[in-house]
Point group: D2
Chain length 394, copies 4
């Protein structure tokens, strides 16, 4: 057995680095989840979440992961046979669509370029065609965790409006929330799906839906069966007032600390920090691209993600070999390729509680792993990242 020493660099695209403050806040006895002390904690959490979602509408928390909140989003607003439009962006958009289909919806996939992200004009065109308004909702992933592409939600919103289409706008912000700007109210997003384990810097086990007034109304008419996820049981007005069964009090303890930390830093600073560390990562990968080396999967600079960089290896190169070296020799944990990208890419999570030496240590380990694994690449990626970070004011 190899004994690995020192702290693991955890560059997975979720779960991600959990600050000690949050871990310590969760290291605490249980309390009565129906008592006043817990209610005060929960209130602070919901207020903090609204701040992060940039909404004054309903946020509903579940003991579940993001897949649970995906399901919650669907079963609350739809009836069997409802038609939804899913702009294709990669693994997670497809899977959310599949889930909808398994739950009895008619799912129409709008084909798209995985490496560029959703084309707002294509959405507008398709919606314009739907004169009968048979499409009940557009279901969209904000930031594709699999590809590192960030879709342009505000522009797609404008596309829907331009088509004068009444579809609900549903957005999965699982890997953008708390890392990349998202504005539920300003962008009139009706249903939002988020999770605890990425930009919120928490352990997995808690997930959220945001629900606009329009979504809550849709829920009154929706006929898909649901109990655990049922907004009608959980929400009064536009506030969650009940929890179905025992509330996950420890995750609330952590969330209370998480929303405090985000408020202390300020969301604008949080987003700027993510952008800076992401740009450093991209600069490193661009150097590695030399000498027939790996490249950034996302091809459109407008949609390269500030929370995840997916790195595509050239044909015949083994991404898993790079990941193994990084993990076993340098104690750096990277994300692997999902589904059809398996073996072809590795993913660098750079979201949440991260700073310059953390990302540089990780990039250094990756650059060394490329060398050790015999993957051709341009040298000097880390140097390029350093040059950028030294010049860029925090």
């Amino acid at each position: 057995m190899t004994v690995v020493r020192g702290r693991q660099f955890f560059q997975n695209p979720g779960p991600t680095n959990i600050p000690d403050r949050i871990l310590r806040a969760m290291d605490r006895p249980a309390l009565d989840f129906m008592g006043a002390e817990f209610r005060a904690i929960a209130e602070e959490c919901y207020a903090g979440l609204r701040h992060v979602f940039k909404t004054d509408q309903a946020i509903i928390a579940y003991a579940s992961n993001g897949h649970g909140a995906w399901e919650a989003a669907i079963v609350n607003v739809f009836s069997p046979g409802d038609r939804v439009l899913v702009p294709e962006t990669g693994y997670f958009s497809l899977n959310w669509g599949n889930l909808a289909q398994e739950l009895g919806l008619e799912v129409e996939t709008l084909p798209g370029d995985w490496r560029a992200g959703v084309d707002p004009e294509a959405v507008e065109a398709r919606l314009r065609e739907d004169k009968a308004h048979t499409i009940k909702a557009v279901m969209q992933v904000h930031n594709e965790t699999a590809t590192g592409v960030t879709n342009r939600i505000a522009e797609i919103r404008r596309a829907i409006d331009a088509a004068r289409h009444p579809a609900l706008y549903m957005v999965d912000v699982i890997s953008s929330l708390g890392s990349i700007d998202f504005r539920m109210d300003e962008w009139q997003v009706d249903v939002v799906v988020g999770g605890s384990q990425k930009g919120l810097m928490m352990p997995p086990g808690m997930a959220f839906t945001g629900a606009s007034q329009k979504a809550l109304q849709a829920a009154q008419a929706a006929r898909l069966p649901r109990v655990y996820w049922d907004w009608r049981k959980l929400v009064t007005g536009n506030r969650q007032t009940a929890f179905n069964g025992t509330a996950p009090v420890h995750l609330f303890y952590g969330l209370q600390e998480a929303v405090r930390m985000l408020a202390e830093e300020g969301l604008d600073h949080v987003f700027a920090r993510h952008r800076r560390l992401a740009e450093a990562t991209r600069r490193a990968v661009r150097v590695w691209r030399g000498n027939d080396g790996p490249e950034i999967f996302a091809t459109d600079p407008r949609t390269q993600s500030d929370s995840i960089t997916t790195v595509l290896l050239q044909d015949g190169q083994d991404a898993e070999a790079v990941r193994s070296v990084a993990l076993d020799r340098f104690n750096v944990s990277l994300g692997g390729g999902l589904d059809r990208l398996d073996g072809h890419v590795f993913r660098i999570g750079h979201m949440g509680d991260l700073n310059e030496p953390m990302i540089l240590g990780a990039l250094a380990a990756i650059e060394m792993s490329l060398a050790v694994a015999g993957v051709p690449h341009g040298k000097g990626g880390v140097a390029a990242a350093m040059e950028y970070l030294a010049s860029e004011r925090a």
Copy 2:
């Protein structure tokens, strides 16, 4: 603001006392939930759960609370319109039944005495009547968390067999698992529902279903829509091999420690300890019964619960006043009455990580709270509990 000092005595009937070992095991960074290190942790957890459930069949874990596992149990084995028999035992049996109804089942409640528990003969009689075998399942709570009554599962199993009825036997062990003997395989229970936050001594946020071979087969034919809870996605053979979305790694960290602790003590010792501390509690309440004081809600000594004692106050006495004094003045947290028992009872959880001075400290605070709240009662309850515990060998 009152500052309360010293450790809270947390006598809620779940969540309950979490041992430091478990909290510390969870106070740890995330890891790759698709990597080898996590798989080894998960394997140990599942093996430990099978030991606690006394089964070699499938145990499926969810990021959810017990209400989620309730729903999982139903959506996996039923089709819309299926008929189930729910022997009434109190708040939780009724609610599980309601949930089934909301999901589209036809639910028949078998009336019963909340204070005595299910009568196996009544179950047998009802099943004998059902010659057409329209009843697909008997849905049963093992230990009613609301009333402190432990149903006689082995005897009900025999009743089903005596009626030669093929119904699935489904049992909720949420407040008995790890505290009171339960034998999934020996008692041929087809679907079991358990949670993390009671006898497993964990935070809430994780729940389980056990599924027999017969249940897994039923799942192949079941037509209720489900994705998050879908055994077909999660189970290979009779082992959980996948997690739907991100696994709640921190709850697995805690669970690993929990199953180790239960194995170290030995289940027989765990159950004997619960019985001993429960009996001490009952002896105290029996003394309090004097002078027109409160009484044990459960009337049949065979079914008085070893994990929870529900204490019924006499008419005109306010259980909430007792709870308030206990909490505000003595830092002892008790459970309140649920639904129709609200205000009439308080509940003493004595499950999980508990020992003699913990229960005696709590009983002492309760006896004092009765006095402070002006509730008539016999004095000397704690003394009776002490006398019993001093005489009873661990």
Copy 3:
């Protein structure tokens, strides 16, 4: 191996119960002990300590235990051959005296009644005799940890003044600080010795001396060799401004939380709570006294300690047998007898982070342990404690 379950009731007279808040505050990475962040923490700690010592004079912290601070107190103010008066009160007063002797002082013990505490009149009488003022200091234990006797410091101060004697007044407050009122400035105590692990609710490893202006002046002339403990290196004006070597940053983390907790509760409330829980303990022991049972070692109600009750068994009874039962069967840890009291007494610490159910759980375990160990005693000690605590408002 017996597996003991549930939380240990830790009724040792130091170290004692450490609140989770303090443990969690210490569960944190190191930081630069010469940097600004640590200096701010240390400043808050010193201010908090001055509040607890009720002084505006110098408090000096050491990485050491109380025995280290004992030594620090002596080596800083004395020269070889200096004469000191040590009113005898028990194990710790004798040992502090021994330490002084080993370091080269001439130590005069003023005989006294271990069960009653120091007689201020005897101190006055002895000092009046010392017309030449050869006695440089009176060295006094405030609260004898071995006997549970609290000496009357204010009265002894008045005795010294009445004798018009210039001796330094040195007081060990190790087992009273933060539990029993002590007023360094008002009582003109020149040198105070305290430790982290009792009323400050901290782990052991940190100790303190308070030093009055008079003591700091004495330090300039003192000729005992010292470096580690040397106030002259550590103090500027009347503030500690340096640490000899690496500061124990984690103990400062804990201390910061400890002084915050004491301020939140308010010292008066802290002392009242100690008095209440101590009185409950005494009432229990007084009942046990019946039937030839054990008694409170401290005989004078004025000096019975609010932080420790030493319980004296009758001849032929084995205190260690009681302690063993309490620990092995009930997971309650009690203090043993020290030196000549070994086997004759056990000690109940009731200091620090304690509340009613904690002390009652412990007393219940002790009363049961007396029964199990076959030690005659009056029954109903816990009942008497409960009756008192139910009647006494917090």
Copy 4:
């Protein structure tokens, strides 16, 4: 207020990075330090320490920092006026000598080159001159924490033997223990001084002396006053059997985990890892040396330390400016220059729980800080470190 996010890179040369395992082991209630459970923990700690010190002789632990153990080493073996020889190597050797002088010894400093370390021949020559054997001991720092120079203890031992001189050999291993090979018994070191907060990866607050049979005998005759540090009270045979006052149980909890971690990795692997990461650091600094940049303070490759690299800036360059940028902008904490080196050097600790991405992240931050602070330097230091680490097998 700047909010700094992400984990601090703590490259101080002690205290240093504390592994989570050790912090969590310390996050635990107190226990009876005179009971069996603590004794077992302490036994394991002492055995582990003997393994790390490579000795079968006495190791004595104190609640103190390294300066306390320095004092303990002296007061236990000397009498007033004894003469000792202190080969000069920097700040810490001088200070240990000063301490001896303040305690009443006659200290002779053997002048030496701070950047090269002790010359064994000079020691031998001086000892040969001392035909009367008036020199009672050679007091030597193994690894100068201030300069990053590791003295050649085995060779100095041979020098003492070659001179046939009976002096005690006393070695401070504070910043080498657990990072750089040290062999108390093989090298016949009589008194060893170590601390918890460096290679043992612990919080500060605990320190150690090793004492050979010869040292223990010297202690019998030594006449310096001592109580807290007194081996005669603490040691039976060659094992510590007592603790003076309350043992610092939490530091023992941590130490238990520390010695387990060192044993798991294996001391040889630990030392090799330190050598590898130190060499990477040196390669970076050598590149920075270009363009009139900073250099490694230690000039002799044989004595460049594997636990600390002291980096000397050129005249007119401000080391503190570099440290400020590193801390404030990149959250990397570096050591500053001590005494006469203040402002001229910064120090990179690379000891304890460290791995490749940790040191590379730190080096990257330092290289960027040089740029930001306007300190001329050769670029590509990190790249050189990466090239080395990619080629060097763990």
